[in-house]
Point group: C2
Chain length 415, copies 2
Amino acid sequence: MGKISSVSPFAPAALVKLPPIEGVTFATAEAGIRYKKRTDLLLAVLAKGTTVAGVLTQSQTASAPVLACRKHLKKGNARALVVNSGNANAFTGRKGHEAVEITVDHAVEAVGCKAHEVFVASTGVIGEPLDADKFAHLLGSLAKRAKPDAFESAARAIMTTDTYPKLATRTALIGDTEVTINGFCKGAGMIAPDMATMLCFIFTDAALPADVLQDLLAEHVRTTFNCMTVDGDTSTSDTCLVFATGAAAARGQISVTRSSSKKLKPFSQALHDLMRDLAIQVAKDGEGLSKFVTFEVEDAKTWHAARRIALACANSPILKTAIAGEDPNWGRVVMAVGKSGEAADRDKLTIWFGPYCVARDGERAIEYDEKTVAAYMKNREIVIRVSVGVGKAAATVWTCDLTHDYVSINADYRS
Amino acid sequence: MGKISSVSPFAPAALVKLPPIEGVTFATAEAGIRYKKRTDLLLAVLAKGTTVAGVLTQSQTASAPVLACRKHLKKGNARALVVNSGNANAFTGRKGHEAVEITVDHAVEAVGCKAHEVFVASTGVIGEPLDADKFAHLLGSLAKRAKPDAFESAARAIMTTDTYPKLATRTALIGDTEVTINGFCKGAGMIAPDMATMLCFIFTDAALPADVLQDLLAEHVRTTFNCMTVDGDTSTSDTCLVFATGAAAARGQISVTRSSSKKLKPFSQALHDLMRDLAIQVAKDGEGLSKFVTFEVEDAKTWHAARRIALACANSPILKTAIAGEDPNWGRVVMAVGKSGEAADRDKLTIWFGPYCVARDGERAIEYDEKTVAAYMKNREIVIRVSVGVGKAAATVWTCDLTHDYVSINADYRS
């Protein structure tokens, strides 16, 4: 067994600094739920009037917190977010729902809100009962000491096997008013689309109705978090929530009531950009990775087909392992395209590794030079482009390679 | 990187000895296609009147030999089988078809038959042009020295990353006449269902029309080779052919014209049993494996649903890695069931690791004892049983764990 790198080679040298967002404060604690000597509990307190939208896992075995979020999202208002790491409170039966209830009750008291305004998320081991009494009593003091300038510590408290906190910030104009969007997320293994693929929390001071927020989130999840995979595994806990405090209204932000409004274009673009940034950060912290890999599929029949072909590549163990070995084994790309089940014209299939065309029109490219492409494979970031020759649609999927460290990390996760 | 075991821990101490089958002879050669100092070319010569049936890969990027087999199968007669290892002749464009034509031409001359009576299969690297001139001229001398008692050497000539040849034999009565069924196959990586998942060649002296043979093969592939996976990857070359020489007719075998005939029951059962045996042998030689794993899914809505849930488990990298680490991480079974997309009742889900119930009715079983189940995980053969609580259908899938050696083997395959 190799020595596991303690940090992803893609960990940023310096973390991006997120500005405060009016109406959002955070506090964290070391509750000792599973980890020792690190924070594992996060409370976000949100101003009155905050709207919320969310996209949750499509797993048939969703966790108790996911079920609670799904219920609370129907009302569209949020005042508190409670997240714990170390235990996913998934597959914990009646006890799981009780743990959520205890958490919500304490948050209601701490923040002074209604139960449906509390959102909860848990991440970590599946199947272990979560003892909410261990941490719920801390929420009162956390609410008292919650501070706006604490995005990084918030992001750190929700980490599990992540090797760095994932943070992003953008600004956009709605009418003439500048609003800020901040987001952070966690996720490194058990990462695949269908749906949301990790915990992600996004905050903005924009004033937007919950249904508008929901439309934008659902649209952008499709091409960001749903186009990113580490191991093709879908978590029971995947949760992506967006909170809009509405503080920008006091600064004169115009009101927007439809997600299709032209006035929302810059905001929508900034939100997409931020979500894409976070999705790529997750892929770049894929468990045990040595390389970040982008699959670009072109000339497919539909976007869905292009995405499915790209995912077939991105989830192929034998292809991901070849990439880890810096082997330009493009035959395995042919295999993955073939197994996707989507239409492809074998005799028009063209494949590029970075700038190099390795196969054209169904056979090895004349100019293919193994040494050149093998040298390209030594890069940390690999782009593989495939034209399947049956249409005009394209999709991009981000992933990482499959290494010895992935095996080490996941063979030893609980022990 | 760990040292790669040279042989699967499941390699048989002694290979099963296959009896000759009247009308089938083999010869092999060291053609030097890719490997050095080992056989890599097989010719099987089949008696006049031999019928043939086949199931081939569903890949959209099927190899040139697969396309040729698909065409030749329409006629239902076979006189020769030519297999090479080291090069899959897949994604080789026009040159690929030419290589098949050259091979077929030489086989036609060597055996004295028609082109559509020649079947070809190639396995190995994808995308490298196969130089048929390197070996096709050998077929004449191979035909001259072909012998009946050579199943083991035939099985060895078609191996790639296999660590042992996979052989099986059965007998059955058709009416009062005993017939023999022999089979061998290769496959260790890039193994998944949809369809046939490897090269497999089955020979019998039974006298059966091609369409009857085809019905039986298609039926049994479903629950044998299509319920086995190593890495979820579908090869461009998967080929499973059955040849029936009809020699048993001279020994008085009754004629059978419908696959549904009661008289075929024992033969059909023996064929199923042989194919199941070979499928399990492939899973037991999964690249780099340390454990053989059986997933049994019960109480699903349909057999298809049960199979898909079992495959979601068997193809989950994070679950397979936990098994390699001897970690009874049943939460990952919950995750895999959830991600399959098939109906499951979270609150009725029950999971067993071997004889131990680890979860019942949607939460950890009261009697669950981590130490006991962790001790069970030290076994070489692991059985995980899941009741999903929504119906009465069941399916079994065979696979192996995901180890450091899998990564080593596939990172270094070509270099």
